[in-house]
């Protein structure tokens, strides 16, 4: 069986940590979550902890931690800024993230400090298909997916 991965083309992806980012229309915030390939590495989520609203966050640094069926690890900020909101529903029911990673399973909202520059470091638009194909190949070669 070959697993298909849903990587919507309406957002920006951190190529290393498999976090997605999407500007929220009409606001100065971006929403952040885990993409489907990241979730494939983790398995079903058991617990999430997130930093407090108002905390300054730095791209590449931890905004929280999680424990999943397969492993425990950090959630890494794809952009720098101020943590503006947390998904309290996902904190209470982490499997929301597995059920709907791009919708109800979002993790945090960040007020980015320099979206213009940092969004350029994320994968989006025309670069997406090649990145997704490369990542799926990498996952296959590691034996993580069939």
């Amino acid at each position: 069986m070959t697993i298909e991965f849903d990587i919507p083309d309406d957002r920006y992806y951190d190529a290393t940590h498999h976090m997605w980012t999407q500007p929220q229309e009409g606001t100065d915030r971006v929403r952040v979550g885990i993409d489907a390939l990241g979730l494939q590495s983790l398995g079903d989520l058991a617990y999430i902890s997130l930093r407090a609203v108002g905390d300054a966050v730095q791209r590449g640094e931890a905004i929280g931690t999680l424990e999943a069926a397969k492993m425990t690890g950090d959630l890494i900020a794809p952009v720098s800024g101020v943590l503006a909101a947390r998904n309290e529903a996902a904190l209470r029911d982490p499997m929301l993230v597995n059920d709907d990673p791009y919708g109800a399973g979002w993790m945090v909202a960040i007020q980015p400090r320099d979206w213009e520059t940092e969004s350029g470091k994320l994968v989006s638009g025309d670069r997406l298909p090649d990145w997704v194909a490369g990542e799926i190949e990498r996952y296959r070669s590691q034996g993580w997916v069939e």
Partner: protein
Amino acid sequence: MRLRLITDDGVAASFGLAADETLAQRVGLGASPPTLRLYTYRSHCALVGRFQNVENEIHMDYCRAHGVDVNRRPTGGGAIIMGAEQLGVALTLPGREGTSYCHARELMEHFSGGLLRGLKRLGVAARFRRKNDIEVQGCKLVGLGIFRASSGGLLFHASVLVDLDVPLMLHVIKTPFEKITDKEIESAAARTSTVRREVGREISMDDVRAIVADGYAQAFNAELSAAEFSAAERREAQVLERSKYRSDAWVFRRTEVADASGTAKVKTPAGLLDVRVTLAGRMLKAVYIGGDFFTAENAVAELEERLRWHPRHSERVAATVEDCYRRQPDLGGIPMHALCAALHKAIRRAKNAETRARSDPYACFVNPEAAIA
């Protein structure tokens, strides 16, 4: 590669954990060298996983009455007891750029390499199991965890059961058992193993420590040099011990995911089946399968392990059970459909208990004894 080796014994839980976190932080910054710490805690302490609620996992009254220290690890996983007969392993290394959950599984297997080599040298055919265990024929021998410090330094934690006081463990750590009888002790003992049981002799802690150290030297092609904590490391660890690992805010912090327990007893042609489950939200946190049927304990232990940290959804539980039956012919002593029905019933009761607890904010989420069989 050079690896500093620190050995210490009789360590307090708060200092042991603070020292490991300090080393991870400093190694990430380049202020301390990569270090392998092989140590024992002062008997006994109970260490819960990073996300667990202490009151759900630990019999606090027993711990208070018997001087069992309680603390919280920076790493995930379940509650454990540590003392003079359990070897603590803390390997601290600088993290690579981009080290995150995507690499955690590779890292866990890689870091386990030294332990597996050491155990192999002792003639123990151990293997890495799924998320965070090393097992021997379905029985847990070593618990594993990884923590990434904010500096990027990595801490690999392992608890090696050189020996285990199973009755004490059952008094300290909450289990699905209603009472601690000889049968329950035997059942818990069948789900874990120890280095001494596997090698069949009274091997000393120092001998195990030396063999594990050699295992890491070989696995990492490293030259080990024995050393002590530096004065700066000790000072920083003491500060962290006071501010974090001795603070109730850390030890008794709560997760927002609710726990709930349920049980089911089902009569089958093979005998009585007794199933107990604990849920953490929509995940199965723990499963116990007992009864008076005849089947290999290690096959049951493996099935229970497969169901740990597994979604509670009936169809997914049934699929995993079916897969275990295909791989483990020894499970044939328990009728599969009866087992699925019992699991379903116990999960439904746990869900109902959770719903009742939510509607009664003063109720306790975890009380296995209260679940009606």
